[in-house]
């Protein structure tokens, strides 16, 4: 790997780590979801410092060229990320549905309660009138 490329990768990795930290500190990203991005940046950092790892793995896995290997890993990483996102979204959907249902039920019960109170007041007042 050329020195130029390695420096570029190193700079990108460090820059991305800073972006992740900033986004977490601005409360736009939860720390537990930032972990995977930090892991990927770390991997990039390691590869830029030790590119021999990529060459070694290419031989080991029987992939034709190192770039193919990197693309493969990148695609796997993105697929895993997207899959876990759909799992997270599913859990959130269920929770939102639960909240919607409960809120609506409480609204109804509140309305019923208010309606019952109004009825009581009307009964009281009409009772007083009749008593006169």
């Amino acid at each position: 790997m050329s020195m130029m490329l390695r420096v570029e990768l190193l700079v990108m990795a460090i820059a991305f780590i800073c972006v992740v930290f900033r986004t977490v500190n601005r409360k736009k990203l939860l720390l537990k979801y930032s972990l995977v991005w930090l892991l990927i940046s770390l991997g990039l950092l390691v590869i830029s410092v030790f590119p021999q790892i990529v060459m070694h793995l290419t031989e080991l896995t029987g992939v034709e060229t190192p770039s193919n290997l990197i693309f493969l890993f990148a695609i796997i990483a993105l697929a895993v990320l997207t899959f876990s996102l759909t799992v997270i979204v599913s859990k959130q959907s269920v929770r939102i549905k639960n909240l919607t249902q409960l809120l609506s039920i409480y609204h109804y019960l509140d309305g019923e309660h208010a309606g019952a109170q109004a009825k009581d007041e009307i009964a009281e007042n009409s009772g007083k009138e009749n008593g006169k």
């Binding site: 930290f21 977490v24 409360k27 939860l30 720390l31 537990k32 972990l35 930090l38 639960n98 409960l102």
Partner: protein
């Protein structure tokens, strides 16, 4: 929940509880007894039932214990934040976190809130380690972990706290409003300290008494503690990169 004192100071005890059916009655009984004796301030308490799957909810209703039943389990961070939100809405002057498992001694409450009442600090942490006179014992691993976190926080946030994982803490109105808006989810005790230092909040550690866990099992297993340790360390480092606001009166 307490006598009505229009001019008086209002203190709220936030009691998070997850599956504490065995302990919650005695915990609340101790609090009620103590509340009956305090004259300097009005002591209220609210149990936050974090989606318990045992009889906790039933016991609270049967014994007329003021409690907020969370619709979903949110974890200790979310549950405690609910308490802070409630305190902010009801305009309490001081909010105190008090464990629902009986580990905290209510009799240490006056010591805990004294620095806030005197205006010395905005946030106090009840510590087991300050004077080494507590009955509390912990596993070796936990003690090493706690000391490690303490060092990390000292380096990144400049705050010297020995008992960083203590859940016995008191917050002034300013701090409880901060927490009502933002509070960490997992293992929030160390992270929240860093967040406070970034806001320029004065934090003080106070020696308090704690007991052994009465009944039931601690919610964190050995492996999960390792995961939490890493995550919290990362959170501390990350939060340390923020620009710190200077301490103000």
């Amino acid at each position: 929940m307490g006598k009505n004192m229009p001019q008086g100071l209002k203190v709220l005890l936030i009691i998070p509880a997850f599956n504490e059916a065995k302990n919650i009655r005695s915990v609340v009984a101790a609090v009620r007894e103590y509340a009956g004796r305090t004259a300097d301030y009005q002591l209220d308490y609210i149990v936050i039932n974090d989606g318990s799957t045992d009889a906790t909810a039933q016991i609270c209703t049967e014994n007329k214990i003021p409690s907020i039943m969370l619709v979903h389990n949110l974890g200790i961070g979310g549950a405690v934040q609910t308490g802070y939100l409630f305190a902010a809405m009801r305009q309490y002057d001081i909010a105190v976190q008090f464990d629902g498992d009986g580990q905290h001694d209510i009799r240490s409450l006056d010591k805990l809130i004294a620095p806030i009442l005197s205006g010395e600090a905005d946030f106090t942490v009840g510590s087991r380690f300050l004077e080494g006179t507590s009955h509390f014992q912990s596993t070796r691993l936990r003690r090493v972990g706690i000391r490690f976190l303490s060092q990390m926080i000292r380096i990144t946030a400049g705050i010297r706290i020995l008992d960083t994982t203590s859940g016995y803490r008191a917050a002034s109105r300013r701090v409880l409003e901060i927490f009502a808006k933002n509070y960490p989810e997992d293992y929030p005790e160390p992270e929240s300290l860093v967040a406070l230092s970034m806001e320029g909040v004065r934090v003080r550690e106070v020696q308090v008494n704690m007991f052994e866990r009465m009944q039931g099992v601690s919610s964190i297993s050995a492996w999960r503690s390792v995961y939490y340790m890493l995550k919290v360390s990362l959170a501390i480092v990350c939060a340390g990169f923020q620009r710190r606001k200077s301490q103000c009166q």
